[in-house]
Amino acid sequence: MTLPGVATGRPKAGYDVVVVGAGVQGLATAYELARSGVTNVAVLDRSWPGGGASGRNGEMIRSAFSSREWAQLFDLSLRRFSELSAELDFNILFSPSGYLVLSTTDEELRRQDLVAAKQAEYGVQSEILDAAEVRRLVPHANPELARGGIFQRRAGFAHHDAVVWGYLRAAARAGVSVFSGVDVHAVLTSGGRVTGVRTDGGDIAADIVVNAAGAYSDDLNLTADVHLPLVKARLEMIVTEPVKPFLRCAVATPHLLGYCHQTARGEFVGGTELPGHDETDSLNTTYHMLRDMATKWVRLFPDLGGVRILRNWAGTVSQAPDLAPVLGEAPGVSGYHLSIAWVYGFMGAPAAGRLLAESITTGRVPAVMAPFEARRLIEGRSIAESTLVVTTDGRS
């Protein structure tokens, strides 16, 4: 056992559903399956639940995106986050203290009215802030970089480990078996149908297999002859010593390619990126990213110059060319379902788990989930979302 809720003993010879990966995606899906009555479910992880990106992320949550597809999916998630502590009977420390996407450049300032208008059209409430309003909201931010923004008041952040633990315990209570230390080597198929998985402890039969293997989801796909244009990417973050509260809301800055918030304990937590992606599955951190983060965060919040960095860590994700997740049945292999290519997969999990479980149990793909099907990548269609704090690789 590595966590409360993890099963002791070895997996059975077969289940109705096998989920590969006990990150927030796999666990949310298993929990939602159990809630809708499918309880003969195993979640298999080679590590401890939450040991992947789900325990290494920036914890930030919003639904104020610029595209209808992202806004609708993530708005369902945001609504779920506000009820999750009560539902899971576990405090996930959700802080709806707001999420600000800063505007820095003239272009960003020009565009923010348009983006907010679209959000209103999708039913996502957001506010357009001018320089003075941003200054009031984040008084410590450098006014040269904080010239405006879009603020989503009911968004914010939650504790990543707590979300994983909450889903894990609730799934286990509902009858799901979550195994730690089981390595899945291959997805087994026969005549275009999934039949189970091959693990380091032998084969496990299942008519439904869910790939929620995070950074390694593409490797798993290849064992089932499913070919999607995904890459692994490393993201890095820092945390500082605790300081007096100075930042209430979560802040993303597309201009600096950064995202940050201050925890209830007072630590400043933030990550930055460079254009392009850092294609590796290494969990080591790098000196140049440590300096990039220090430089950008001191630029945005000059007072942080005297605050000490305690830790720098890395996590890995899989990414599609359009940076949108891939949700739904894999092309060509019936019964094999994907919840992969998550770059914003912490905030997306409550919705994705529910929608994927619904599509598995009813056989019908919910409308909010449909645009994220894998086929879009094969046919070269992409979902255009303009408010992400990640860049594509320059090819697209």
């Binding site: 325990g55 800055t253 254009p275 630029r299």
Partner: protein
């Protein structure tokens, strides 16, 4: 146990009892190894406690990774002096 985060022997033992039975999950449940000392104060003792709980001389798993920087460093000291140096962003 952990002067940085105020984690006590009781905290470690009760988290272990509750099911956080791995150095990596015990770390996340109690915050040992994660303070400004970077585990220099608590690391050895936490390892001994884990070994004792496992009934072994040494813990079965290695201790969680030491994260850089080895000692806390002021952000201003790591920032590039020339602000234009880091490859900007999406602008």
């Amino acid at each position: 146990m952990c002067p940085c985060h105020d984690a006590t022997l009781f905290d470690l033992r009760s988290s272990w009892e509750a099911g956080y039975r791995h150095p990596e999950t015990l770390k996340r449940a109690t915050a040992v190894f994660m303070g400004p000392c970077q585990g220099k104060l608590c690391g050895k003792v936490a390892g001994d406690v884990i070994a004792a709980l496992q009934g072994a001389a040494e813990p079965e798993e290695r201790r969680p990774s030491v994260r850089p920087p080895l000692f806390p460093v002021r952000m201003g000291d790591l920032a590039y002096e020339d602000e234009s140096k880091p490859a900007g962003g999406a602008a």
